[in-house]
């Protein structure tokens, strides 16, 4: 199968004169696994429903393989949806649910039986063909919904938070399977989620949305390592935010002065001039925690002293909340445990420690 190319061209949507989607522009490549990520109520479902044909955009157009489809009814679009609440037909068996679209096309029984069996195998549900939806577990229901949507051979599959009703383990497993199905059939997937971990782990690209707007589009790496603004930096994973003014600009290092803990250095990846107010973010896993100053590096680093205020051990890592000596600023520091029995003598609560990070690991987000 060949995936469709989908272009969202300046789409806006009003509900009762409230704008719930503002000038959305996206170009989704054929066969791409594309995620829409954003907090609840930001307009993800609305955008998906406009693509599926259940809502009509107030402004803008949607092109599927070059043709504007906004005036086509949902049954005439080469797009299928996996609904958040599964929306399986309760009066039909698993087999008949999956066969629904083929029955509408009046395909022969033989053809239907073959193809339904094939798609139920794809989602690993062969044994449950004769069950009614009410007899299935949540994960099984979602598999039926996926098979039912895929059997229609859409060029774009829309998935609206398909895993949100499942428990964490199952979610992980189905996510991997979904990724495998995507690789196998090769059509375009548009995946709506508010779970950043989900989006990061399977997507080719992600669009981050907030309050009716698309804020950034990029690969998971770009979104995580180079967020376009503070909202994204905080929404995608955890981070430490620092506010300050530019004090000195060298060839590739900027010195920033803060009100709270003096100066620190960061790598120069944006043009700034002395006196600018800037916001900087540093991811907690990029900060090291130690008892002595690091001596084995020539690269520019920032070192601060503080005390462990809180310590959360969670198996593969420990989260430290370190409050600086100079004033009440608290830094989050995540330490991965790559060796059995900790990496050295464990740090303890209320212990005085050093935290440090490489200047190139933090980055400028906003310049004013």
């Amino acid at each position: 199968m060949i995936g469709g190319e989908l272009i969202i061209d300046n789409v806006s949507k009003d509900f009762d004169s409230v704008r719930v989607l503002r000038n959305a522009n996206l170009k989704i490549k054929p066969g791409e696994f594309f995620s829409l990520l954003g907090p609840s109520g930001c307009g993800k479902t609305t955008l998906l429903r406009i693509i599926a044909g259940f809502e009509y955009p107030t402004e803008g157009a949607v092109y599927l393989d070059g043709k504007n489809i906004i005036n086509k009814s949902p049954n005439n679009r080469h797009v299928n949806t996996v609904f958040q609440n599964y929306a399986l037909f309760p009066h039909l068996s698993v087999f008949e649910n999956v066969a629904f679209s083929m029955r509408l096309k009046k395909e022969s029984n033989e053809k239907i039986r073959k193809k339904v069996t094939e798609y139920l195998a794809l989602v690993k549900l062969e044994e449950h063909v004769k069950k009614m939806p009410s007899q299935l577990s949540g994960g099984q229901k979602q598999r039926v919904a996926i098979a039912r949507a895929l059997i229609n051979e859409p060029s774009v599959l829309l998935l609206d938070e398909p895993l949100s009703a499942l428990d964490a383990k199952l979610r992980q497993q189905l996510l991997i399977e979904l990724d495998a199905i995507h690789d196998e059939i090769g059509i375009t997937f548009i995946y709506v989620t508010h779970d950043q971990q989900e989006a990061l782990s399977v997507s080719d690209r992600i669009a981050v949305m907030d309050r009716a707007e698309i804020l950034q589009v990029g690969t998971p790496f770009e979104i995580y390592e180079n967020p376009a603004n503070l909202f994204i930096a905080n929404f995608i994973g955890e981070t430490n935010n620092i506010k300050g003014t530019v004090k000195n600009v060298d060839d590739d290092i900027i010195t920033i002065e803060t009100d709270s803990f003096g100066d620190f250095k960061i790598f120069k990846d944006k043009e700034v001039s002395i006196g600018d107010t800037v916001k900087v973010t540093i991811r907690p896993e990029k900060i090291r925690i130690s008892r002595e100053r690091p001596t084995d590096t020539d690269l520019p680093i920032n070192v601060l002293t503080g005390r462990i205020d809180e310590l959360i051990y969670s198996g593969f890592q420990t989260k430290y909340y370190v409050t600086l000596d100079v004033n009440g600023v608290t830094f989050k520091v995540f330490k991965q445990h790559i060796k059995y029995f900790m990496d050295d003598t464990p740090f303890s609560w209320k212990e005085n420690v050093l935290i440090w990070w490489y200047a190139k690991d933090s980055f400028l987000i906003e310049v004013k």
Binding site: G53, P74, H91, F100, L104, K130, A149
Partner: protein, 286 residues
């Protein structure tokens, strides 16, 4: 122990049903087997006369026409009730519409039927409007035939179909219709293939709630009907009050009750057998 408690709890209900339901029916059954008294009432002599009279071709003809009127009326009602109930269930002003449907019950049943004479009568609203518009020159006789009876019976029972249908449709998950559209169904197909099968229990209730009272109705054919629309209910009333043939009125009632009961049993069994089949199927898989 439990059993005894159950019987005690249901005692008031059992008493109520016995006194006001079972005993009257037994009295009717008993009367039907006696001889007709001269001025109403009965002579206490056993007789099957009243049942023999049922095989009178005139009565059988009335029975057929009653059946015809009831079936057509029920079909009309269901055709009107499903879209109305659907509309109400999806509307933002549900309470308002339900209120409108219940309002007519505040007016006496007979008065509401007489109101139809004002609407459909020779000098009634519809005729006057049509004449004013020049569609017709002289009044048209709408009343006193089968179709006027069907119209008014439809009006009378419509709420009894809309209300159970509304309560079923309200529980229906409308996103299923979107799922159907998404999978290639037209609007009509999504209604036919997804909505209707899922509100079957409501449709069954609506049919029973409208067919049974229509089948036994006598006021409407009496007031609105003509020669071609005599219904079994009319005959019962006439035999009881005018002809003073209590046994015949009773035997007709008994026949009516038996037919309705058999009908209901067959109908609900037909519906159940499908559900049963499904259940069997499920068991087979496990």
């Amino acid at each position: 122990m439990k059993k005894n408690y159950g019987q005690i709890y249901t005692l008031p209900l059992t008493l109520w049903l016995t006194v006001f339901f079972t005993i009257p029916i037994l009295i009717i059954v008993a009367i039907s087997f006696f001889k007709k008294g001269l001025y109403g009432g009965v002579e206490f002599k056993l007789s099957l006369d009243a049942y023999k009279a049922l095989f009178n071709p005139l009565f059988l003809k009335t029975l057929t026409s009653t059946l015809f009127i009831s079936v057509i009326t029920t079909i009309f009602i269901i055709i009107f009730a499903i879209p109305s109930a659907y509309y109400i269930a999806r509307s933002k002003k549900k309470d308002f519409w339900i209120f409108l449907i219940i309002i007519p019950f505040w007016t006496n049943f007979l008065i509401r039927i007489y109101a139809w004479i004002a609407i459909l009568g020779n000098n009634g609203l519809v005729n006057n409007i049509l004449i004013k518009l020049g569609v017709i020159e002289n009044y048209v006789q709408f009343l006193y035939n089968q179709w006027s009876v069907i119209t008014v019976l439809t009006y009378v029972s419509l709420p009894f179909a809309i209300l159970p249908l509304y309560s079923t449709i309200e529980k229906f998950d409308f996103s299923l219709l979107e799922a159907a559209r998404d999978l290639g169904a037209s609007k009509a197909q999504s209604i036919y293939k997804v909505l209707l099968p899922n509100i079957k229990s409501g449709i069954t209730t609506a049919i029973l709630f409208t067919f049974i009272p229509t089948f036994g109705n006598y006021a409407v054919p009496q007031i609105i009907g003509g020669k071609d629309s005599v219904m079994v209910g009319t005959i019962i009333a006439r035999e009881l009050t005018v002809m003073r043939n209590w046994p015949l009125a009773s035997s007709i009632s008994v026949a009516l009750t038996i037919m309705t009961t058999i009908g209901v049993l067959l109908f609900s069994n037909f519906n159940k057998s499908k559900t049963e089949e499904l259940r069997e199927l499920k068991r087979g898989i496990k």
